[in-house]
């Protein structure tokens, strides 16, 4: 990996257990700053589980246990002194299925800034919301109906609303768990463009099932299989000359 790149997050020997079953068998993975890192691999290989470790979303799952170390800017996020709530505001998350809250578009985006007290005044809040929607490429479509229900938007718009909602908290890292799997190709293309734009300000990690998507949006790719990290490298290397046979087989569609 390019030594000039700053490493934003660094996982070492990350293991995850559900009940007594080991799901991830010691993952070592660096996430470089201001780059898009794609996690690929067949279903059930543990890539989403790893992603959820990065902002401790696994804590909300009954019986899940994480061991090992994950650093965010040199600080262990599993240290008992870490405030999970604050961590999640630094490492935002966009989910597979668009999940806007049953509130207006405005309130959806305002939710994060409100609970974290990011806006000093109403004007401030309006500004944050406009900026977030702009960055998510949604503002011009919804500026006249900010007070309509968030659920009244189309699937692609809802997903961009969720991205705007995540941006509004001013995170440093955005985790995306198959953000396009519920969307049509046109909406997918918009989200992919958006991811490329967002890379300048944020560090992005994306789980995807689509090889083409990984190739299009990411700079680095990590290949998972059966709870192991098979291979990691620049997206170009992984897709043109993978070092592992399993990676080769997966990206050419021989299994998975």
């Amino acid at each position: 990996m390019n030594p000039r790149l700053k490493i934003k997050m660094c996982g070492s020997n990350v293991k995850v257990f559900y009940a007594q079953k080991e799901i991830l068998h010691g993952i070592h993975l660096d996430i470089p700053e201001n780059r898009v890192t794609a996690l690929i691999g067949p279903s059930g290989c543990g890539k989403s589980t790893f992603l959820r470790c990065l902002n401790r979303m696994n804590d909300t799952i009954e019986g899940a246990r994480v061991t090992g170390q994950i650093l965010l800017d040199e600080e262990d996020i599993y240290d008992p002194s870490v405030d999970v709530v604050e961590l999640r505001s630094r490492v935002g998350m966009v989910f597979q299925k668009p999940n806007p809250f049953p509130k207006s578009i405005y309130e959806n985006v305002a939710y994060g800034p409100r609970i974290h007290g990011l806006a000093k005044s109403r004007v401030d809040l309006d500004e944050i919301i406009e900026q977030s929607l702009l960055k998510a490429g949604l503002f011009h479509e919804v500026k006249d109906r900010l007070h309509d229900a968030g659920t009244s938007l189309s699937g692609g718009q809802q997903q961009r609303l969720c991205i705007a909602r995540a941006i509004a908290v001013r995170p440093e890292v955005i985790l995306m768990d198959e953000p396009c799997s519920a969307l049509d190709p046109i909406a997918t293309a918009r989200i992919e463009e958006l991811i490329d734009d967002l890379r300048r300000n944020y560090t992005i990690t994306i789980v995807t099932h689509s090889m083409q998507q990984a190739a299009r949006v990411s700079q680095f790719t990590a290949m998972f299989h059966m709870g192991n990290l098979v291979e990691v490298g620049t997206t170009k290397t992984i897709f043109t000359s993978p070092g592992e046979q399993r990676t080769q087989d997966y990206i050419t569609g021989r299994f998975g």
Binding site: M93, N99, P102, Y111, A149
Partner: protein, 486 residues
């Protein structure tokens, strides 16, 4: 042949038809022809066409002949009794009883003559005090009646059997590879299900109509304004004889008592129930939830009279003593008070609120929780700002359902709040509710068509409309806010 044995025979015949058709279908199948339906469907089809038309006919026939004979008897009673028209209904009733006893008697069934002796014998045997001297014509009517019952029953039974046997043959002979018995049985099934649900609707309509007619006859003796705006409830139990005094039937004190007690109950039940629901749904570990939830549901199954007993024996005296202690000697809380009733009713309602709300809160999709946690919200922020707003319509609906229960509750009120209809805003005094007064009025020693009794129907109707309105509001709220969710 008695009614039950006719029904049993028809069922037996149907079962026979089932077996024959089934077997016949199997034989055809064994010969190598491909049947449209599995063999048991042919059997079922035969069974259904044997049983349904003949039994429907038999029941219909029995009801109609009964009505016809009653009509006939009453007209012949009128011709013999002359202008003593009002006693005629009593005479017909007697003749009816006698006739039905005669029909059941073996001697009457076997012997065709000497009915009087038989009748005397029956009356003696059944220890019925009945002087035959004055009411000679009743006996003749009864005998005639009984003979007709026998005749009509015979005709009905014969037709029923003919119908059943014919259908049986039709069913058996229609077994053929092309016959779509499976689809036909399906149609009949749908019909039965439809019938079951329409019976529910019909019964509801019947209840409402019966109440409506009694209510109308009540309002013929008491004006609408006196009932709905009257502030005094005094139906005059003592002055039944005096024709001009009908008492005062003011709804207001009862309505106020009902709503007041329900309000106190909800004031207790909503916070306690809702908070326990939130705790159950969001914070408990599964094993603890597995204990608390069944416990709450057991609480919901306790008969309300037990709660009333608790109020009467424990909570009422306790509050009374507490008030003596607080006000140093002056008991400002009565032993029976709206407060006691409201609190105990609230305790009764807690499991309803918490169990319903818990189901609704758990039904909020996990994705919303994840979304909120992913933005760095704490658990309580997630609950108050995301989950409760999402669950809001369902919770409101469950609260209104619970409130309907509070309004309809009777036993707790009788024991805990008393039966005195008093218009007051002091929750420490005795009060009463609409339901309690309905029981009071219907169990009194009044003629059935006196306003003192009929008022119960007007009260019931008011209660019905009240709860209906609440349910309509609940439905409206759910419809209006549901779209935002999902």
């Amino acid at each position: 042949m008695s009614g039950p044995s006719v029904i049993f025979s028809v069922l037996l015949l149907g079962s026979g038809g089932f077996l024959v058709s089934c077997g016949w279908a199997r034989i055809i199948e064994a010969r190598g022809t491909r049947m449209h339906s599995r063999s048991h469907y042919y059997g079922w089809w035969t069974f259904l066409i044997v049983v349904i038309p003949s039994l429907v006919f038999f029941i219909f026939w029995s009801i109609c002949t009964n009505l016809y004979l009653e009509n006939k008897a009453s007209s012949s009673c009128h011709t013999t009794a002359g202008d003593m028209a009002q006693s005629c209904s009593v005479l017909v009733k007697m003749a009816h009883d006698l006739a039905h006893k005669l029909v059941l008697d073996d001697h009457f069934r076997n012997s065709q003559e000497d009915h009087d002796a038989v009748l005397q014998n029956i009356l003696g045997k059944r220890k019925i005090l009945f002087s035959l001297d004055n009411k000679e014509h009743i006996v003749s009517i009864a005998i005639e009646w009984a003979q007709r019952i026998k005749k009509f029953h015979m005709i009905g039974t014969i037709i029923t059997f003919v119908l059943a046997i014919l259908s049986c043959f039709v069913g058996i002979f229609s077994v053929s590879p092309e016959r779509r018995s499976r689809n036909r049985v399906e149609c009949v099934t749908v019909f039965w299900l439809m019938l079951a649900s329409s019976i529910v609707i019909l019964i509801t309509v019947g209840i409402v109509l019966s109440m409506l007619f009694q209510t109308i006859s009540f309002f013929q003796s008491v004006s609408l304004a006196n009932f709905f705006f009257g502030t005094v409830w005094d139906p005059r139990f003592s002055a039944v004889d005096s024709e001009e005094v009908v008492g005062q039937f003011g709804l207001i004190p009862l309505l106020a008592g009902t709503l007041y007690i329900a309000f106190i109950a909800m004031l207790f039940a909503i916070p306690v129930g809702l908070f326990s629901a939130i705790y159950l749904a969001e914070y408990t570990v599964p094993w603890l939830r597995g204990i608390i939830k069944p416990l709450l549901e057991i609480l919901a199954g306790i008969p309300t009279i037990v709660y009333g007993f608790f109020a009467l024996a424990v909570l009422g005296p306790f509050l009374h003593d507490l008030s003596i202690f607080l006000a140093s000697g002056h008991a400002f809380i009565m032993a029976q008070s709206a407060l006691t009733a409201g609190l105990v009713m609230g305790i009764m309602l807690v499991p309803f609120v918490s169990s319903l709300s818990d189901d609704i809160i758990t039904a909020v999709p996990r994705s919303l929780r994840d979304g909120s946690f992913g933005l760095g919200a704490t658990q309580s922020e997630t609950i108050w700002r995301v989950i409760l707003p999402a669950a809001f319509p369902g919770i409101v609906a469950s609260l209104l359902l619970t409130a309907s229960r509070a309004i309809g509750e009777t036993m707790i009120v009788v024991l805990a709040a008393g039966v005195v209809a008093r218009l007051t805003i002091n929750p420490f005094e005795a009060m009463t509710t609409i339901t309690v007064k309905i029981v009071n009025q219907l169990t009194g020693d009044f003629e059935f068509n006196s306003p003192q009794t009929l008022v119960a129907f007007a009260l019931g109707m008011t209660l019905l409309v009240l709860t209906l309105l609440m349910n309509i509001v609940a439905l409206y709220v759910v419809r209006k806010y549901r779209e935002q969710y999902e």
